[in-house]
Structure formats: C-alpha cells, structure tokens
Subunit: 409 residues, 2 copies
C-alpha cells in the first residue's frame, strides 16, 4: 500500500475537491467547531460530576445535549440517553448490555443480515457466552419482510436489532412494521434499532416506532467524532460493558467528552433547523448524481432501492469490471473523495457483507462505490463529480483484463 | 443538589480563577486546540483506513501520534500502541482483554487496593466469568511491598496490575521492583501498569520497567478528552472487548478520533519539550502550596508520601472537621477549583477507597481535597489559593458541630 500512500500524498491540488465519504468520517463545519471551542479552556472545561464552577458548566452541556437528543427523537420523560464515545460503542452497549442483563429470560438474538459490523460482531461474540444469533435475510433491495421476522422471533428471543437506514445502500426499513411483527411474536422482546444513518435524513419518533433502544452518532450529522448516543426506553434493563468511575451516567464510565458534546448539540440544531429543506436538497442532489452516472457510464448497477424508500443522501453503485478500491484512488487524484464496498475493514479487501446479502456477486460488490450527499454540497459539486467519474471509470476499464472491448464510435 | 447548582451558576466573577482539578478533567491550552483545528475540516478529516486523500492524511495523524507515544515511553519496534477514547477504556481493555485472551493459562488476577476504579471494577466484573481477584494491600503512604506482591503471585496468576503513580495521593511506586517481584514468582505473568498519572510527571521507560501493558490518557497532560492509549508489548495477547468495523487497529473498532489524536500529539510534544524544567516547576509549586496550607491551617493531614516519592503535581490533604464536598463548593465561590476524595463517583458521597486503603478514617477521607499542579500554574496562582483556603476552611469549621472551639488569641 505504500506506493498508494506516496501517490496520494504527492498528487497535485485538483481544481475542485468534493468530499462524499460521510459514511466513514464526517467533515465538521466551522460553526460546529466554533460551538466546541469555549469548552476546551474558557468554560465548562471541568468534570460534569464535580461541584466546582467549570464542572457545573460542563454538567449543563451534558444535560442540555441529552435533552436536545431526547427532543429530536420524541423520547418521553423517564426515558434516557446514554452518551458513549462512538456509534460503535452505542451499538455494542445495546447488543451486549441487553443480552447480559436479560440472560435469564432467554438466549436468542435476532438481527438482520445487513446490520453494521458493530451490531453483528458483538452479537456473534455473545455466542461464546451461550447466546444464539439468528439472521433475518433481506430482499434484493435490502428490505426485511415483517412476516419472516415474525416467524423467527419466539419465546426464547430477548433481543431484535434491525437498522432504520442501512449504512451502505440506504434502505429505509418499514421499522414500525418490523417492531410490530417482532412484538406480536413476543411482547417481551427488546427491540433495538441502529438509527445512526437515519438521524437528519428521515424523521425519528421512538414512541411511534415502538423501539426500546436506538443508537445515534455525532459524526454522521456533521458533528465531531467522539460522541455516540444510545436512547434507552424507561424500564429497559442494560448492563454496563465498560467499568470504571461514574460521572453523570450509569451505563458508560469516565469523564464525558464535553467539547464534543457541545459540537454534537450544535450539529443537531443545524440539522433540524431546516430539516425538510435540507432533506429535499439532499434528495435532489442524490438523484442528480445517480441519474448523471447512469446516463454517462455503461454497465453500472444501482445497489439498494431507488426513490423515497432510499435515504435521501445515499448513492451506491457498482461499476462493473473494475475494483472499487482502485476507483477510490483514481477519483481521489481528481479531488472526488469516496469509499468502496470492498474496503470497509482495515485495508483488507473483503467484499461488503451488505452487498452480498442483497445478492450481488463478489465481482459486483468489489466494484461498488459509496457517495454520501450532505446538505453542504452544491449543484456544482455534483457537476464536478459527474465530469470526473466517466473518465476515471474509462481509464480503469481500459486497464482491466475483464472489461469488454468497446466498439469505436 | 439543585441549590448548589444555582449557587454556583449565580456566583459573581471572583478576582482570580485557579483550576486545580486536573485529576478529573483537563484544561486544554490554546496551542493544543490550534493543533486540532485543521483536522475538523481542512485536512485529514477523512477515515484513516480509506484510500482517499483526507483518509491518508488522517492515517498520518494516527501513525505519527502512535510513533510519538512509542518514543516517549521508549517502546521497541514490534510493540504496539492501541488508541481508545479514554483512559478508562484503555484500562478496561488491559484488564478484560488480557483475562479473556489468557483464560486457559489461569484465572487469578492480582491488583493493588488503591487502583483506579477503571482497573478495580473490570477486574471484579471478571469474577462473574470465573476469574478470581486478589488485592495487594498498601502501607500508610500507598506503597506496595514487593515481598507481599511476590507472595501473592502464583502459577495460577495471569495478570498483575499496579499503578505507576496513584491518581489521588500521588504515590510513585517502585514499579521496576514490583515487576521483578511478580515475574520472579511467575515469569509468565502479564504485568499491566496504569501510568495515566505518570505521563509528563516522571520518566516512563517500558523496557527498563519490564511492563507488558501500560495505559495513558490525553486529558491528564493538557490534551483533549477523547483519547486513551494502551501500550502492548510485542507478543502479548489481548482480546478486543468492543467489536465492530476495524479502522487502523485490531483492538479497538470504529473510526479514530483524529482531531483529538492531533491534540494529544501536540500535548505530548509540549509536555516533553522542557520536561525537566516543567517537572521542577510543578514540584516547586506543589511544595509551596502544601507547606503554605500546613503553615496557615491547623488540623490538616497530608495524604500520601512527601518529597521525591510523591508525584510532582499532587497535593492531597484532609481538613479535619469539615466535608470536602462543602469545601469544594466554598472554594469554587472564591475561584479556586478543586475536587474532594468524598465525591469521586457521580455525586454520591462515598469516601475514597484510596484514602481508606492507606488507613484514613471515614471522617478524615470525607474532608480530603485534591489539588493538581500544572506547568501552566504561576506563583501568583498558589499565592491566591493560599489567600483563600484558610478563610474558606475557617468559615466551614465555624459552622461545623464537630470542630473544636478555637481559643481567642
């Protein structure tokens, strides 16, 4: 990989830079950074559980952020929101914390086959402790059939976890139906949803959805890295999975990352200030990018649903005959920053389990590219991307031994 | 507590503010914040495992920070440093990760009675999985006797964990002797040290010490919150305790907090730029504060050792006949920000287990106050604190039913 590193670090400044990789790492706008700054050294730099002034100011940040999260997901008084340091940690707490606290009621866990690794891996880890994990299949667009879920949930099932919006292909599940299907089969079941890719994209109302646990992450909505959150319905029992000195909350120990929480608070405010307009803007640019690619490039597969059942910010396509990883590098040289479904785990080229689950072949999954639209993108960003993508794909296909030879025009 | 909150939030601006609570939450100097800023939105805002330019720039931050940590603790090539999101998480990974990966070799864990809760609680949690935790006692100054440790380590022991510097009373253990004592009893034992309160205060050399695992935390050296680190000697086996998508490291999943790592990197540079001078400065102010208190206030107990065997930044004293929690509030009103050994866990007034372990009575522990000196403190800060402490103590003692009546002069 070191030659790629050299290539990237030495490449000249492209005419424009467009960052689309919000799936993997968020870009933090200046107004969010601004909101964090006082809490490093002017006020609230203390420990939220200590009764000195900088501590109480810190406590205010933690509590107002918690209240804002509660408000935007329509949580009720008595419910709680636990802050962790990442969405991965929130998902781990949901899965392992629920299982460990409810083992006496049963040992079966039902998740979908396209969950994020931070749901799948902790669930599988629990198998070493005597739990059993069952995976619900999805259709070719990533949807779970409520009837199949209903049939898989039984009296032994303590936990069901299915995403609200898929992180790779943008499938918006009919979550309310899925919760109903699971609770019809077993009213005692605890329902967790990973809503990390739903926040700021579609409305979230925990009461209407009927979920018991719901995960969020700051960096997916232009907040800083370093904050995850887990909504916990009143009465739902969880066991902590990390242990230490408690600050303001019982389920995650250690001092809260107060500046990051202040940034998350600001990012939520911005995402919900003009929610409908932001979503409409993202949806328009999404379709412009997707349709633009399909018009300009042959042999492209769209991964996931299209239209209203797809997240407004998600474009995921497979460019046949080439490697997504190579295209990621090629597009980076042109200032278009994306990621590939062939590279989600630590530079090991494994095809995305999500794409395989919806029926993509290995070679189709390897050629996949994820673009995530942000409310900060402009029409010109999409135009620029569309001006670069066909050339980049053509260049790599010309080098590919498996690409069919094109007829000269 | 709400009246305290109101009192604190409404109190006027004191003539000077001196923050001493670096034990619980660090204050981040402007040059460290400055070092973080580009990585929010100018460069390196990508995911360190993704092969686009912002991703590779992020990777550089992670790797150069790791290299710098390795350098300042004299790690060897082949050793590793794992970044977590807090010191608490680093300690949890060390204790639970080692136990889970080495269960076949034995089930006994030996820790000291004055370890941080993020070592004690995960160790105790492991008892549910069949492990056995044994606690080494300490003397009246917090020191562990190597002979006692040697006698407690046996063939069943897989892990020993003792701090380098105690977080409350500043005891600097003879760590090299302790490692030798433990490995003499069982050469296979894995030795972890929580060095979170040692970094920047005393030299750390993992090779000379002979430790296998060593925890650090950014916010204890004026770095931002959101970064912990665990040094792992080559060949030491750990199991991850949080599971998900891997980025650049195998033992802690999820995207690394790159801006916070850039801040940690800068904080390390600053702490080690003039290490000897910084330490001498802290030690001088420490003694000025401690001696100043003893000269001005009667009935004060010093908690922990004095002189070179105490951390250069640590002052911990018990003011008899009053509650440390009340004194924390009273001093806050005067702009002197401290914490108390009676309030380390989530506003629940429990006496510090460290103070009880060195033989303090409950009422002595309740009256304890921690001050942590920073290299940013000035003589005038100490003078100001010394001008406020006697009055504050006197005021509370006048209200205390158990304080002896003073003779009129």
């Amino acid at each position: 990989m070191s030659h790629v590193r050299e290539l990237l670090s030495k490449h000249g400044k492209p005419p424009r830079e467009v960052y689309f990789d919000h799936e993997n790492s968020g870009w933090v706008p200046p107004e969010v950074v601004e909101a964090m700054l006082p809490f490093f050294n002017i006020r609230g730099y203390g420990h939220p559980a200590i009764t000195n002034l900088p501590g109480w100011e810190a406590y205010e940040v933690v509590e107002t952020t918690r209240e804002l999260v509660m408000k935007v997901i329509s949580a009720r008084q008595g419910d709680d929101v636990v802050f962790t340091h990442s969405g991965t940690e929130a998902n781990n707490l949901a899965i392992m914390g629920t299982a460990l606290a409810n083992k006496k009621r049963g040992t079966k866990i039902v998740i979908s086959s396209i969950e994020h690794p931070s749901v799948i891996y902790p669930a599988q880890e629990l198998e070493e402790l005597g739990f059993r994990v069952v995976m619900v299949p999805v259709d070719g667009e990533g949807f779970i059939d409520p009837e199949i879920l209903n049939a898989m949930v039984d009296k032994e099932t303590i936990l069901v976890s299915t995403q609200m919006v898929n992180h790779e292909i943008g499938t918006i599940q009919e979550l309310r139906e899925l919760v109903k299907a699971a609770k019809d089969a077993n009213p005692e079941v605890i329902f967790h949803t990973d809503a990390i890719d739903a926040l700021g994209r579609i409305p979230i109302d925990v009461s209407k959805l009927g979920v018991d646990l719901l995960s969020l992450s700051s960096h997916k909505i232009h907040g800083p890295k370093g904050v995850g959150a887990l909504y916990v319905r009143e009465g739902v029992k969880l066991k902590p999975i990390i242990h230490g000195a408690l600050s303001t909350q019982k389920l995650w120990p250690g001092v809260e990352n107060v500046p990051a929480l202040a940034g998350f608070r600001k990012a939520i405010e911005l995402a919900f200030e003009n929610f409908e307009a932001n979503v409409a803007h993202m949806r328009q640019l999404r379709d412009k990018l997707l349709n633009g690619i399909l018009e300009r490039v042959d042999d492209v597969l769209v991964n996931g649903p299209i239209g209203d059942r797809r997240a407004p910010d998600n474009v995921n396509v497979s460019f046949l005959y080439i490697e997504g990883e190579s295209l990621t590098v090629e597009l980076s040289l042109r200032g278009v920053y994306v990621s590939s479904g062939s590279a989600c785990t630590s530079r090991i080229l494994e095809p995305s389990h999500v794409l395989l689950a919806i029926g993509r072949k290995h070679e189709e999954a390897h050629g996949s590219i994820m673009f995530r639209i942000s409310r900060y993108h402009k029409e010109e960003d999409i135009d620029y991307a569309l001006s670069q993508i066909p050339e980049a794909v053509e260049r790599l296909r010309a080098l590919s031994p498996i690409a069919p030879k094109r007829k000269a025009q």
